[in-house]
């Protein structure tokens, strides 16, 4: 009995010590420079007019946003917390949103931040003056007025209650600028200059090479940042980024690597590499041009989607490409997303692929297109465009459709999709930052500027309008299922592939950074520290 008690005591003590050690090991350490590689380049430094991670990764740490995804829980699609605000609330009718602005925030040049700065920022985003680009202006269509009742309160009144508003405010591109800068230097100053309230202040930008930042001691989140600074090194080639991590020239790359690269790194470095993985708010879509025969015939479009084995393809493709999860129109883990049962009822997601392909052949025969041949326009980017293109060609071959892939550089690809509209079937992308399903699915509307399929579908427009103005999530969910059934199943306007899968292998000494559903999110770096 005594021995048992002793053993228990020793065991408990050991467990407590281990827990204490783990806790100690996870206590953030201060200092160090984080080197990371970025697989793209910076167009301008103005977040309001850019849409690329090539700008977000190096520039985001200089800025704050009004609210942001919770850095402690970035994989959640609905967890938003204050950044420059101390609290935010919505009125019962959902039309008035009030943000209490923190009183302890300073810009890097020493100017205190007030609600006037946030208002000036949102005026630029929502109501840009003539000639000023605001790439996300449309996200704020519901905003009626922005006012500041006092120096530290911001009120945004909406024309109608909208479930898309708060996620839109949390987008990482909505950098808070100083009113003084906007008034003094104009609305284009931030394209080449930086003055934010972020965790790091600007040190240097060498075009095509790197951006460096140093710790901002006056940062408003107490005790942060942990790093002394960071260096974002531009490295467009994936092989270079991979070898840079292997050779410890960089500790991390925030966008993502394909599975083979992850495996190579782990094989070479063992436990010196930590891997974080998760679904990615990006998907490639097959877009049939409804104005090109025979893709104006929904039987043909339905045959093309029925031929694709998404459940089987997921297993095979996830070994070689950055795609994995079969899913509907909504990001898989969001409350508005289809469950597997719901999904399996949509043509193209049936679990019995033989039945599905038999139906596809029948539809093609009925449409007089049993010997269908066409050219698939694709973007000449391997991951995952070309790989997915090759896979699709093989899927369609199995119902007797012969497809030729025409992979072209981004310029001609965009030109063909957006201007010429001269393709038969194209691979297109839907890649977003914040998971904001009702905004994200607007791509499926025939009226959307980023929908290239050239169709008009009034019922879908009405469904979307209803979702956009509904405050009831159950109702949104119900309409979303109808919307999904129509776009992917009944009309097969667009043919889904698989959701992307984000794989971030990084040096194990990088701590505090958690993977998010998008490579645009959680990049303020204030919580990152180095365990060296």
């Amino acid at each position: 009995m005594k021995l048992k008690t002793l053993n228990l005591l020793v065991g408990t003590t050991a467990a407590l010590l281990l827990a204490a050690n783990v806790a100690a090991a996870e206590t953030p350490k201060r200092g160090g420079i984080l080197n990371f590689v970025v697989g793209s380049k910076i167009p301008s430094m103005d977040g309001h007019m850019e849409g690329t991670f090539g700008m977000i990764h190096p520039i985001r740490p200089f800025y704050s946003t009004l609210i942001r995804v919770n850095p402690a829980n970035p994989s959640s699609t609905t967890d938003f917390v204050c950044d420059v605000c101390s609290s935010f609330s919505s009125s019962d009718d959902g039309k008035t949103h009030t943000f209490a602005i923190r009183k302890d925030i300073k810009f890097h040049d020493g100017t205190p931040l007030t609600a006037a700065d946030v208002k000036a920022t949102y005026d630029k985003l929502v109501f840009p003056p003539k000639g000023i680009l605001s790439l996300r202006k449309k996200f704020f269509n519901m905003v009626d007025t922005i006012t500041t009742p006092d120096n530290y309160t911001l009120v945004m009144k909406l024309k109608y209650p909208s479930p898309t508003f708060i996620p839109s405010v949390a987008m990482p591109f909505n950098f808070i600028y100083s009113k003084k800068d906007l008034d003094t230097h104009g609305y284009k100053w931030h394209q080449k200059n930086v003055n934010g309230t972020g965790a790091f202040s600007f040190v240097e930008y060498q075009p095509g090479s790197h951006v460096t930042g140093k710790r901002f001691d006056g940062y408003h989140h107490e005790g942060k940042p942990y790093l002394d600074g960071y260096k974002a090194i531009s490295a467009p080639k994936m092989a270079v980024r991979l070898q840079a991590i292997r050779g410890d020239r960089a500790a991390i790359e925030f966008r993502g690597f394909p599975p083979k690269a992850r495996d190579d790194l782990v094989k070479a470095l063992g436990d010196k590499i930590t891997v974080q993985e998760g679904d990615w708010n990006c998907s490639l879509l097959v877009t049939p041009n409804h104005k090109a025969k025979p893709f104006d015939d929904k039987r043909v479009r339905r045959a093309l989607t029925l031929a694709v084995d998404r459940w089987g393809g997921s297993k095979a493709l996830s070994k070689i490409a950055i795609v994995k999860t079969p899913g509907g129109v909504v990001f898989p883990s969001h409350p508005l997303a289809a469950t597997k049962d719901e999904l399996s009822k949509i043509p193209g997601f049936w679990t019995d692929i033989k039945k599905s392909r038999a139906e596809a052949k029948r539809l093609l025969a009925e449409a007089g297109q049993s010997n269908l041949t066409f050219t698939l326009l694709n973007r000449a980017v391997d991951q995952p465009y070309r790989i997915l293109g090759v896979w699709l060609i093989d899927q369609w071959r199995q119902i007797g459709v012969k497809v030729t892939q025409n992979a072209v550089p981004t310029g001609p690809w965009v030109d063909s999709l957006r201007k010429k509209k001269d393709y038969q079937v194209a691979i297109d992308a839907n890649c977003q930052s914040i998971v904001n399903p009702i905004v994200d699915v607007s791509k499926f509307l025939g009226s959307a500027s980023n929908n290239y399929a050239q169709y008009t579908d009034e019922p879908m427009e009405k469904m979307h309008a209803a979702m956009s103005r509904s405050g009831d999530q159950a109702e949104q969910r119900k309409i979303m299922r109808q919307f999904e059934q129509r776009v992917y199943g009944d009309e097969a306007h667009i043919i889904p592939t698989l959701w992307w899968y984000k794989i971030n292998p990084h040096r194990s000494y990088v701590k505090g950074w958690k993977i998010a559903p998008s490579h645009y999110l959680n990049q303020h770096l204030d919580q990152v520290w180095l365990d060296k």
């Binding site: 080449k192 840079a244 981004t410």
Partner: protein, 323 residues
């Protein structure tokens, strides 16, 4: 000679005008639009209003004639404008990269000349011996081996060997530091691409040196020199090599000019922020102002290098006179 140089410099003007017209037209014929790529390329919901603002801001809604006039006036006044992609001055975009590209070009040329001249001469003198065969094998392998492949092998080799020797893989720096700021860091980055490029470059020059030397060594005046009992060293160095150098100088000049802006793949392999990468990015991004300026710069480099080569001819061979 002076008049000749001035005449050649003046002849650069029509060459540059021709190149300018050509690149201006070609860039506008390539499918794609910088605003569509930049704003719509990520699949974002971008409406026509935003595209129009972007095009207006970049001057793309102006007539072609006005765009060409702006370009021509800019070139004539050495005001190259701003990059359409970054909004930064073109001169700034080019100057930060020119330094690195020039250094690699000089290092690769030095590597090539240091290897190629002795190897080419020895190969010619020892024709059809094992020495000749080895050098020919070396040079043929160099021509057949793409520089980027050699670059990849160098990077992987360093990673693997260093990990085996020291337990931690070593990679060369992936960002440029000027040589006067940190010579060690600079050389530890630039030496490897210089070797990768220099090897192919040397291989080509070895072949040229060998064949030029073989031709000259069969000339009557060399036979006469030998009949006079001159030392072989004097015959080779003073009589043969000088005359054999003319085609070699031409080749070295052309290759050097090519390296300014032509090291596209090697720059990508070693992550060098050079002019080649900038050139490709500018074309793919439809950045008209930057591409046009880069083309004008490369044309100028080619013309100037060719002029220098011609002047070096006269210095090497006193029989050549320019009037």
């Amino acid at each position: 000679m002076y008049k000749y140089a001035v005449k050649r410099i003046l002849l650069m003007i029509p060459t540059l005008i021709g190149a300018g017209i050509l690149v201006f037209m070609l860039m506008r014929m390539i499918p794609g639009d910088i605003c569509e790529i930049r704003l719509g390329g990520t699949g974002l919901m971008v409406d026509k209003e935003q595209i129009d603002i972007c095009r207006e801001n970049l001057g793309l809604n102006d007539s072609l004639a006005k765009q060409f006039l702006d370009f021509a006036v800019g070139i004539a006044t050495l005001n190259f404008g701003d990059s359409m992609w970054t909004g930064r001055p073109v001169t700034e975009e080019i100057s930060v990269r020119f330094q690195l590209t020039l250094q690699i070009a000089i290092m690769a040329t030095l590597t090539a000349v240091i290897i190629a001249l002795p190897f080419g001469v020895i190969s010619a003198i020892k024709q059809n011996t094992w020495v000749d065969y080895c050098i020919r094998l070396f040079s043929i392998a160099g021509i057949a081996t793409p520089s980027f492949w050699l670059g990849i092998m160098i990077i992987l080799g360093l990673l693997i060997v260093s990990q085996q020797l020291f337990g931690e893989p070593w990679m060369m720096p992936i960002q440029f530091v000027p040589i006067w700021e940190d010579p060690l860091a600079n050389l530890s980055q630039t030496i490897w691409p210089a070797v990768a490029v220099g090897y192919r470059y040397a291989a080509v020059v070895v072949r040229m040196t060998r064949s030029a030397m073989l031709e000259v060594l069969r000339e009557d005046y060399v036979r006469t020199a030998r009949a006079k009992g001159l030392f072989e060293k004097i015959i080779v160095n003073q009589h043969a090599l000088k005359n054999a150098l003319l085609p070699v100088v031409t080749l070295v000049g052309i290759e050097f000019a090519f390296l300014i802006g032509g090291l596209v793949v090697t720059e990508q392999v070693f992550n060098l922020n050079g002019l080649g990468k900038l050139f490709v990015d500018a074309v793919l991004d439809h950045d008209f102002t930057l591409t046009q300026s880069l083309v004008m710069m490369v044309v100028t480099v080619f013309v100037v290098v060719n002029l220098l080569v011609d002047l070096i001819y006269a210095w090497i061979d006193p029989r050549i006179h320019y009037t």
